[in-house]
């Protein structure tokens, strides 16, 4: 009854393929130039300073890294949770996970003050540092996902598919928790110092990874005229809706906890009411663009059936995700540290938040281009991957995709009693 899924290379016309590669190469080239410029001049050409030490590159990097682990979800749902309808999507899910992680890591590495010393980071480990643990989590993730792809694609790998899939799932949960904990374990700053950041990052990663996955899937399929049936699209967009709602819920809890604890009152009122760009990024970026608007589309009776609206919802989730990262990473640093509770700083030789003022940061163009370069790398790996290897199923039309419990349910209803 179930048809065999056939995977095929991405066969768009060469001219179109090479022009896509050309555009991506240009984006990467500009990113590389920005990297060279920042490293040659030093970080003074960026907006980053001694108060806001992580800036726009980190917004992109962290977004890509958590989206990477989120992109792997589709494969996990198919293999680990045994939902056959997701199985045909597993390969692309794995490829995207590797590609996004590569892009994100490259940004992190190229933003270092001394990137040429990367070898030091590989040979000297401080195991009390979550950052050092993450180096293992990232490289391990890469290896496991590549093995996972092998079990999906090679007949010999079949028996290992589920065990490796389970390992990959556990590993990606650790990875995202670890990434969240980079921030969550910082006692110094009011906005961090919250264990909830770990799990919150996991839920955010579900949403971002799926949004990126959906866009890539829809673009590659549309470009070559492959079919995505309404059934699978409905599943994906419903899943996205759940993840976006989950993200909003976790953010609500995070901010409510902060509001409840008097200690972090100051930060919350600042962020929610008078934090300037950060207040805007929070309400408009995270909540409206990244949360309410996509939810409205996804659950709209008419619009939720249209491909373009679904794609728009996914794109909005990505935009909202970037603003969320902007608020979480930069906003949290901009808010002054609580050095002297009950006192107001009148003067300071180091911008300690005189009069409670937030630190100033404005992204510079090279920073932004460096971040875009990382996105370009992720997209290039994906484009080359689907072109040369069999990652994409030939069709995801309703009659081709495996049956799933949802349609079985429908069948049960249709059946006369």
């Amino acid at each position: 009854m179930m048809k065999r899924i056939v995977y095929r290379e991405w066969r768009i016309p060469p001219a179109r393929y090479w022009s896509i590669l050309g555009i991506l190469a240009a984006v990467i080239g500009i990113g590389t130039l920005s990297f060279g410029y920042m490293e040659h001049q030093g970080h003074w050409v960026t907006g980053m300073n001694n108060a806001v030490v992580w800036g726009t590159p980190h917004v992109f990097a962290v977004f890509l890294i958590i989206a990477a682990s989120g992109a792997l979800n589709i494969a996990s749902i198919g293999t680990v949770f045994r939902k056959p309808i997701y199985k045909p999507l597993g390969r692309l899910s794995g490829l995207l996970a590797v590609a996004l992680l590569m892009g994100g890591l490259l940004i992190l590495v190229t933003d270092l003050g001394r990137p040429e010393r990367l070898i030091v980071a590989m040979t000297h480990y401080n195991f009390s540092s979550i950052f050092a643990w993450n180096i293992f989590l990232y490289t391990g993730f890469m290896i496991i996902v590549i093995a996972y792809l092998w079990t999906m694609a090679d007949r010999m790998g079949g028996p290992f598919n589920r065990p490796v899939g389970i390992l990959a799932l556990l590993w990606r949960l650790a990875l995202t928790t670890g990434t969240g904990s980079i921030f969550g374990f910082l006692v110094a700053r009011d906005a961090y110092d919250a264990a909830i950041l770990g799990p919150m990052f996991v839920v955010l990663s579900f949403a971002y990874g799926l949004a990126v996955f959906m866009l890539v899937l829809m673009f590659t399929f549309a470009d070559e005229g492959r079919v995505i049936g309404p059934k699978i699209l409905r599943r994906l967009k419903n899943l996205l809706g759940v993840f976006v709602a989950g993200s909003l819920y976790f953010m609500l809890i995070y901010h409510l906890t902060n509001l409840y604890g008097a200690k972090y009152d100051g930060f919350e009122t600042w962020l929610l009411t008078h934090g300037g760009i950060y207040t805007f990024a929070f309400w408009v970026g995270c909540v409206l663009v990244g949360g309410l608007l996509p939810l409205w589309i996804i659950y709209h009776p008419e619009k939720s059936k249209e491909r373009n609206w679904i794609a728009a919802a996914a794109a909005l989730v990505i935009l909202g995700g970037l603003s969320t990262m902007y608020v979480v990473i930069i906003g949290s640093q901009a808010y002054p540290m609580p050095l002297f509770p009950g006192q107001t700083i009148l003067e300071s030789g180091f911008g300690d938040g005189v009069g409670g003022q937030a630190a100033s940061y404005w992204p510079s163009i090279p920073e932004f281009l460096l971040g875009m370069g990382g996105v370009g790398v992720a997209m290039l790996i994906t484009a080359v991957g689907v072109r040369v290897l069999q990652f994409l199923p030939e069709s995801l039309a309703d009659e081709v995709v495996p049956v799933d419990e949802e349609t079985m349910g429908e069948a049960a209803f249709v059946k006369p009693a």
Partner: protein
Amino acid sequence: MKDENRATHESTEHRGIDKERRALIGAAAGVGAAMVAPGVVLHAVQAQADPRSEPVTSDVRWGLVIDTAKCADGCSACVDACNEENGLDLQTKPGRESEEKWDRQKAVWIRKVKLQDNQTGRITNLPMMCQHCEDPPCVDVCPTGASFKRADGIVMVDRHLCIGCRYCMMACPYKARSFIHEDLEGQLTSVPRGKGCVESCNLCAHRRDYGEDSTACADACAAEGHNAIVFGDLKDPNSIISQLLKELSTRQIREDLELNTGVRYAGV
């Protein structure tokens, strides 16, 4: 690999030449010694503490006590002295940058802070620098171990290992660290610093190693007659700093984090 090979070649080929040279140099050395002699006398007059030859131990823990009552409003002697001691005054604003942005990007090891109590309106002046925690968050988070605590309690950065990730700056509750945002020139021999690394107050580690008594900031404060900053060994019950700690009511900044800082403040 290649270089080592080259060095081997070099050494075998040039043994002959070196011999000749050595004879010549031997003669030159005699002349040199004659020139050196006056200097020897000069040196003998200048008494200098022996540089350290044994590893630092945890028998001492260096720290500072700051009596904010004595810290004068508008005085920046400690900051100026630190800048001069550590070559921070040699950093220059990159050409095209605005003064305002440079203020946020230049390295600062010690800064003056002026506070006002929200309830009472009382004004306090104090210097802020690395607090040399017993359990430093910056050391915990550093991925390469570049941020470390020396056995004698000084928290510092091994610039050879620092990759410039700035995670320590994220973790420091005192905003004590600076990232070097620009190329530097004319560094001091005793304080090597360079672009792309993080740095902070190291309680004048080079002075410690040469057996000097105090830090630049404490000396400058004393020279101004304020004596607001006192440097010493927190573990030695007879040291001035320990006596002061017994007398004064001092506290740590951000006591809630229980970092057991090596810098204590009176009157905050």
